[in-house]
Symmetry: C4
């Protein structure tokens, strides 16, 4: 009775994830009072728009991934609860590295872009890491799962989930080679995860 239900875990997680993605728009500022509004001042902000799009899509994909995991759950234990809290804390943090990345891309200093990309890729890798821990936890605790056949699924997902943090970790050295490469990688990683079939 007093155990955390998956329903309420879902409600809180959906709330935090939806709010985090909606707050991203606060990083896109209209031109200041003194500055004139022209197509070129609007266009000069392309990194802010790009950051908005990439982070909104990545958070959306994480929400789908989170749903796929929670759909297998019959119950929630302490470890899962706190791993999920860490996951939410990192996802709710995404507006910050997104803003830093957009600000850095708007300026021509490549050293700043590298730092921003390490921060961004690192945050995403950390989120992927917590997702992986969650799947490994489920693979080791079959009693948390709805059905015995989900045990196989959880083990397979745990191995697959490792690809997320690895992919984002790999974007970090890319930043030192060419500051545009990590941006391409984020889009590719997003596309890759989005194209994973919803059942497996």
């Amino acid at each position: 009775m007093t155990e955390m239900t998956t329903d309420r875990l879902t409600a809180y997680s959906d709330g935090v994830i939806a709010i985090a993605s909606t707050l991203l728009v606060l990083n896109v500022h209209p031109p200041g009072v003194g500055e004139p509004l022209t197509w070129s001042t609007l266009w000069a902000q392309w990194p802010a728009y790009a950051g908005y799009v990439i982070s909104f899509v990545i958070i959306g994909i994480m929400w789908v991934a989170h749903h796929r995991m929670v759909a297998l759950l019959a119950r929630v234990d302490e470890t899962l609860l706190y791993l999920n809290l860490a996951l939410l804390g990192l996802i709710a943090f995404i507006p910050f590295p997104t803003a830093v990345l957009a600000d850095a891309l708007a300026q021509p200093r490549s050293s700043e872009i590298v730092i921003a990309e390490v921060l961004y890729g690192g945050t995403m890798a950390a989120i992927g890491g917590v997702f992986t821990l969650l799947w490994f936890h489920l693979a080791r605790r079959p009693r948390l799962l709805r059905a015995s056949e989900h045990h196989q699924t959880a083990r397979r997902r745990a191995r697959l989930a490792l690809l997320g943090p690895l992919a984002f970790l790999l974007t970090i050295p890319l930043a030192y080679l060419n500051t545009r490469l990590p941006l391409v990688s984020y889009a590719l990683i997003g596309g890759l995860f989005a194209s994973r079939p919803p059942r497996s």
Copy 2:
């Protein structure tokens, strides 16, 4: 089991749409510290209030339209999931063109107002376009619908939905004729969509 349920799609969508409309208030600023508070300084901000009202109402109408679509769904496929994500990303973006429009209207330069109206009308047209794609997708995938008679509904709605992006696209050339015309159009389009019967 691991398929996305319409329930959770609804919860996430409602969350994002509700937050986007509530964040609009952050575009309405109290007068700054140095500036005195008088009826005329409050009134000078009328574009911020107008932007708040128009965008709040338009987002509300979009929420109703979204509900009408989701109510027909029996299941969710990948395409629908990602089209819905694109829809949410555009709706959550609305506070930005709203702020740009309000700032432009507060200044007497008509060239800025035109740019802001193109941005605002373009964002709304893009949202209408994604709504149309969603309805055409449902019209082509009857297995996603709750009942066979909804197939007819989806096809009719797909054609009707085209009116949304077209109407907003038409506001763009109006901006070049007279900067007040698009504002009137937004209200008319809102009123038109609001008055569509809830069943059809």
Copy 3:
């Protein structure tokens, strides 16, 4: 099937009302970078804290009042939908008059305080007015109600609901007599509505 369900109306309304009350904290600013943090600089912000408390409580009471109304509903028609949207738009606007009131109270010019109180009381009166319209609408449309005995309730509530906007309208002339009187009135009105029995 494609009619708006009361469930989803509740979800959207709860979302907007919860977010509006939580955004109030953004009006409470930590002292700026140059300014030292002392007990007196913290205390100098008392109007921001008072505004937070009063508006949070008033929004909370409105949420309870909204719940009491929705609990009687069997179905939702167009008028109810758009009146509810107007209600949400006004509630989501509350952070703005709250910020204006807090800023005005922090300065010693009583003419500014009067303007801020008229704005605040006027917003609250408008919300009370929409609540009254909603109750009168329900009193005239028994088919929207869950049970026939709710018809009596709706009529009684419609008359009682008139007290809300009247009470807030009365705070407006008070502002011209003494700038502290409306603040006392907001607390009294809040207390009065809070103490109304949950069943009637």
Copy 4:
């Protein structure tokens, strides 16, 4: 029928708590326009990150504690409703003392850190105090509980809940001894509450 259901109390509470924790990210600012982005300017903001982590975790633990309480409820009375509103108002306020604490820690003046810690610890103690009042209320009103065996639980929890405000009150004098001690205490208190078993 018109009584507040625990479902809707849960929805509103989850909304406010989820939003409050997500708004914490707005306290973490990217370096300003003039300021260069280097690892040391990013690192100079460690108090903002620390504040984010501590407050996100504490709000998460409060959400779990809130869930444990609501799970025992069969119905909601007026007192519970308004105590819950006070609880939500204090939780939604957390971003402010968090921002004040982060700003103070970023500056080397220990007198400011003490003030910020008193404010932070005081807010947390007040939240703990309202939680305690809620448990004592449930212990005195068995008719609000789902089952008769929950009466014992409520009484035990009421006594345990007292530890929360006491622990946070004790961090206040610690601030005067050493400005780092309260920070350690917040983490310890968080850990202690997190490790309480989900059933008891």
